[in-house]
Amino acid sequence: MTPVAPTFFFYLLSTVAVVGAILVITRKNPVHSALSLIFTLLALAGLYLMLYAPFVAGVQIILYAGGIMVLFLFVIMLVNIERSQREVQFNQQWHVGIIASLALGFLFLYVYKHGSSIFPVNPVSMPEPMNTQQVGMALFRNYLLPFEIASLLLLVAIVGAVVMAKKRI
């Protein structure tokens, strides 16, 4: 499968994603953090496009970058920024953090070295117009149960949010 764009774009988008992700945790102003997260999500959408998945890329932008992050920003805009900027940004749990990131790093390394048997050698290339149909087929034929479980989970979350938000139902 030939890539849809030169490798340069992969590195560019990856850099944007990683730098954005780092800025999310290092910025003191929560609005700036949220904006960095939007850039990360958009860069991920670009990476999906490079993998011949325009539908996933579109949904990534509409739902995550355009929907969920707006609600994040919505809440953050009501927060008192001056007070949050005076608070301590990093806590003291270095040891746990180092152990967790090392474990994750070793997992990545292991998959990278020995994981070639997990991934298909020649990924099935999909004709672009059929991509959305293929996603639908996969969801409703092969993965119907996980799909329904996920939607049930979301329903429970919605009901829970309503219960928490309303004092009297």
Partner: protein, 346 residues
């Protein structure tokens, strides 16, 4: 699409198309403002602009000059970077979405078939939805970075409203997608060619979806009766209270550019795009579809202004209830019925 074109030619043709389309869009934006002032004037028994040029036709140019030469004021208490970014973001996104709108069929120049559209992509509808959903940030950031109560309240209202109505808007399009089976706007129009009985609004039975789309689109573009984000009696001017000169003009232009995009999308999705009678020599045959398309867009812009001159503003709780308790169930019912009909027919 570019099967018989080299990359260089493809880029050149795209640049030419952009250079034609964007000035036309900006021209339409300027003259929609003129049309609005004129029509609302007549609806309210006034003349509207009548001094600058015949019928006030040069008024947009005078307005533009005025906005260019006004003092560009940046209040000292704003968050500078985001305050600058917000109007740029709004206008850029508003102008970007025109790239995937098809305004006509194909033209053949020296054996190369060129679509009358800046770029013909397979997921055009998703791109437009993505761009409009990103457009919320322009409004949200403008309100927050202005660091003023009116702006913040306006932008909170705007983002809540836009997120709510986006759900109904997206679902109202699903019926059309089921009927045509593609995300490509060109494909959707080509599915409706051959007479008005093939249009999605009549032949596809999408008249309910059309109504939902119109309501949601008016809310998305912050127009009366959904213009609470900039309700001047309560919020001064909403999210752009602290903006002046060209920065204000950029918000203004992006609002009207969004109106044009919404009108284009409504024509493409429900009213058969550029379909219409073709006759005459080849040049006329190539250009007539564009004319039919612009006629539809003009109709929608007129409708926008007509509604503005007629309806009062919603109350905020009515606005939210209308979206979540009326439009959303209606849109879901429309999706279910349309898919049932399509499934039973095949």
């Amino acid at each position: 699409m570019s099967g018989n074109l080299s990359v260089g030619w493809f880029v050149l043709i795209s640049v030419i198309k952009i250079l034609i389309a964007v000035p036309i869009l900006l021209g339409i934006v300027a003259y929609t403002v003129w049309l609005e002032r004129k029509l609302v004037g007549h609806i309210q028994n006034r003349w509207g602009p009548s001094r600058v040029g015949p019928f006030g036709l040069l008024q947009p140019i005078a307005d533009g000059l005025k906005l260019f030469f006004k003092e560009d004021l940046t209040p000292p208490y704003v968050h500078k970077a985001l305050y600058l970014l917000a109007p740029i973001l709004s206008l850029t996104l508003a102008l970007t979405s025109i790239a995937v709108i098809p305004v006509g069929g194909w033209v053949t120049i020296r054996g190369a078939r060129i679509p009358l559209q800046i770029t013909d992509v397979n997921v055009a509808l998703l791109i437009i939805l993505g761009i409009t959903s990103m457009g919320v940030y322009g409004v949200a950031l403008a309100g927050w970075s202005s660091n003023s109560k009116y702006s913040l309240l306006g932008s909170l209202r705007a983002s809540a409203q836009m997120v709510s109505y986006e759900v109904a808007l997206g679902l109202s399009l699903v019926g059309v997608l089921i009927l045509s089976g593609t995300f490509s706007l060109r494909g959707i129009v080509e599915h409706q060619l051959g007479g008005f009985w093939n249009w999605n609004i009549f032949g596809g039975g999408q008249i309910v979806a059309f109504f939902i789309y119109l309501c949601a689109a008016y809310a998305e573009t912050n127009r009366i009766p959904f213009d609470l984000p900039e309700a001047e009696t309560e919020l001064v001017a909403g999210y752009h209270t602290e903006y002046s000169s060209m920065k204000f003009a950029m918000f203004f232009m992006s609002e009207y550019a969004n109106m044009v995009t919404v009108a284009c999308l409504a024509s493409v999705l429900f009213l058969g795009g550029w379909s219409g009678p073709l006759f005459g020599p080849p040049v006329l045959q190539a250009l007539l579809p564009v004319f039919w398309f612009f006629l539809r867009v003009l109709f929608f812009l007129f409708l926008y202004i007509w509604v503005r001159g007629t309806l009062p503003r919603f109350r905020y709780d009515q606005l939210m209830a209308f979206s979540w308790k009326f439009l959303l169930p209606l849109a879901i019912a429309n999706v279910i019925i349309t898919s049932l009909v399509v499934a039973l027919r095949s």
